[in-house]
Amino acid sequence: MKISGWGRYPVADAHVYAPRNLDELIARVAAGQAIARGNGRAYGDSAISETNTIPMRHFNRICSFDNQTGQVVAEAGVLLGDIIKAFLPRGWFPYVTPGTKFVTLGGMVAADVHGKNHHKDGSFRTCVDWIDLIDASGQVKRCARDENTDLFEWTLGGMGLTGVIVRVALRLRPVETGWIRQQTHVAENLDQAIDLFESTLDATYSVAWIDCLQRGDGLGRSLVMLGEHAQKTNLDRSVRHSPLVVLEKSKKTVPFDFPGWSLNRWSVQAFNALYFWNGKRKPRDTLVDWDSYFYPLDAILGWNKIYGRKGFAQFQCVIPLEQSRAGLRALLDAISKAGSGSFLSVLKRFGAQDSPFSFPTEGYTLALDFPVTKETLTLMQHLDEITLAHGGRFYLAKDSRMSRETLAQSDPRLPAFVANRQASRADPTFQSVQSVRLGL
């Protein structure tokens, strides 16, 4: 059947079979060239194998919960949103969360996802106690920091190329409420935005929206948004009696493919409205519920259709700290000059991280959406070059179009990853369209 990632580009004709139990799953792995697929939220071709794509939707049970430590054990196909639904009412929230709750735990491990608290708490691996993995030999192996250590380390951020993750033990964070105190600061340009990030490193959450249409003095004009988990005493009387209630919001669904130009016009208008509104007043706390704060786009089911039939591509890189200002300026300059494509992008400060193959490293990460056109594909190649020139690297969970040369130049850890895969026979047992494209 024809499948694609969340960006709906590229589309591949793939053999897809969803095993129902461990024996069936192990048999699928034995068939080789296998890649596990969670909820299909990687943007490109990370979770597609033309010969052997393995949806993990039948591995969707929560196995245990320890209300002293906050440790949940669950099968890899469980959605993050289900974890929140089950445990937020009991006072627990994910320790690290990406920008959508429609990801599976297995996918979160494979991409070693990060959230708005990376500068403080690191990537998802921080809260992973152990994983069970089917390796190339077809055996289920418990991997942790003190057991099958290498396999554990390579698997976090390993894009499913070390084996199939079947079970994950993760620790949640105790919270008093399901609300976030948000503070929005206006930055007139890139330097101000970076200064704001650097002076607020103690904030739990921080992220910026950048208006990519600005040039010159206004280049990098942005809204920097900080967040803290609210205490009960921060809440209005109207919600204080049920601070942990999981609201079931009405979801809007995008019913059909929009023409390719529409989303960005809206998002920039929304940005401008917020920007000018915030610029006129002193930053102060506003209370935002967890769903709107962490997952604004989840409220629009199928928002990926907004980009039209041809789909869209994400570009996300990280530039090391010492090169960040120069690198980001060059990237934003190229984007605003191109004038087409991404109008709004997300900027985030990463904290220090040293891991075998995970994406984050200390510095600044920039994420952009582009509708797929000849022009934007060319622009993204240009952005690749700028990133390389500033010592940066790329997020594989977002990638759908990079060249293997670019990846090889960006990441000195690549040869070790590849050698490890070959030595453990993970290659060719586990392969995705992306791993073949990139020579992983």
Binding site: R20, R61, I62, C63, S64, F65, D82, K85, A86, P89
Partner: protein, 245 residues
């Protein structure tokens, strides 16, 4: 208003688990009944953890009808709601040629379910309250060459539910007949089913929950099946016997 547990018979099926999830979400305690119920431990833990409800496992064999009375006596408390998702399609070709196979299909879809619901009905009637839910099939609306062994047993079950409803209507016990149409489950895995006519198990769970709370009698999970079956039922036999359908 939550007044008692929901018993799920034939709990290993996808439809059964979807119904269990839907009721557990509302805070109902769940009793999962199936052959070798211990194999459902992972499902039990999952339901209990997700919804913070009590979930118990009960050994139940739909074909061992002489054990049904004791099984019901062993339920503590007697469920407020019981849903029977027991069913077995078999393979039509084999069912035609091997009596043994055909009888298993007939017993799995009619005799077993009718036996257990009959016993539960009597207990609920004595108590004066309860809901019985039978998962029947559109295949029971008219016998067709491609699956009439299964269909005939489901037809019997549908008639049984109808009669039971008629009998208990004034006794405080409600009976729901569910006709799911195509559902993407283990049973239909590998079949080439049209997407517009095929429901996800969770849709069945939702439809069953709504029918229970709203007091509906007979439901087709996707409304289109009501129309399709109306047409199929009304084709004159002279023509029907010659069409491949």
């Amino acid at each position: 208003m939550i007044t008692g547990p929901v018993l799920i018979l034939g709990a290993k099926s996808d439809i059964a688990m979807a119904i269990a999830h839907r009721f557990a979400k509302e805070g109902y305690a769940i009793q999962l009944a199936a052959r070798n119920a211990q194999a459902l431990e992972a499902e039990r833990a999952d339901l209990a953890l997700r919804y913070d409800v009590d979930v118990t496992l009960h050994d139940f064999d739909a074909l061992a009808t002489d054990s049904h009375a004791a099984f019901v006596d062993g339920l503590d408390p007697l469920p407020q709601i019981a849903a029977c998702a027991v069913g077995y399609m078999g393979e039509q070709g084999q069912n035609e040629q091997e009596t043994e196979a055909a009888v298993t299909v007939m017993r799995s879809n009619y005799e077993g379910p009718a036996s257990i619901l009959g016993i539960l009905a009597n207990k609920m009637e004595a108590r004066g309250s309860g809901t019985l839910i039978g998962i029947s099939s559109v295949a029971g609306d008219r016998g067709r060459a491609t699956n009439y062994i299964y269909g005939s047993a489901k037809a019997g079950f549908t008639a049984f539910l109808s009669g039971l409803r008629n009998r208990l209507a004034k006794k405080g016990v409600h009976v729901v007949t569910v006709l799911p149409g195509f559902v993407a489950t283990k049973m239909t895995q590998g079949m080439d089913l049209p997407a517009k006519l095929t429901a996800d198990p969770s849709e069945v769970g939702q439809a069953v929950f709504q029918a229970t709370t709203r007091g509906r009698d007979v439901i087709y999970v996707r409304k289109i099946w009501f129309v399709i079956m109306m047409i199929i039922r009304n084709i004159p036999e002279k023509i029907f016997k010659k069409v491949k359908i």
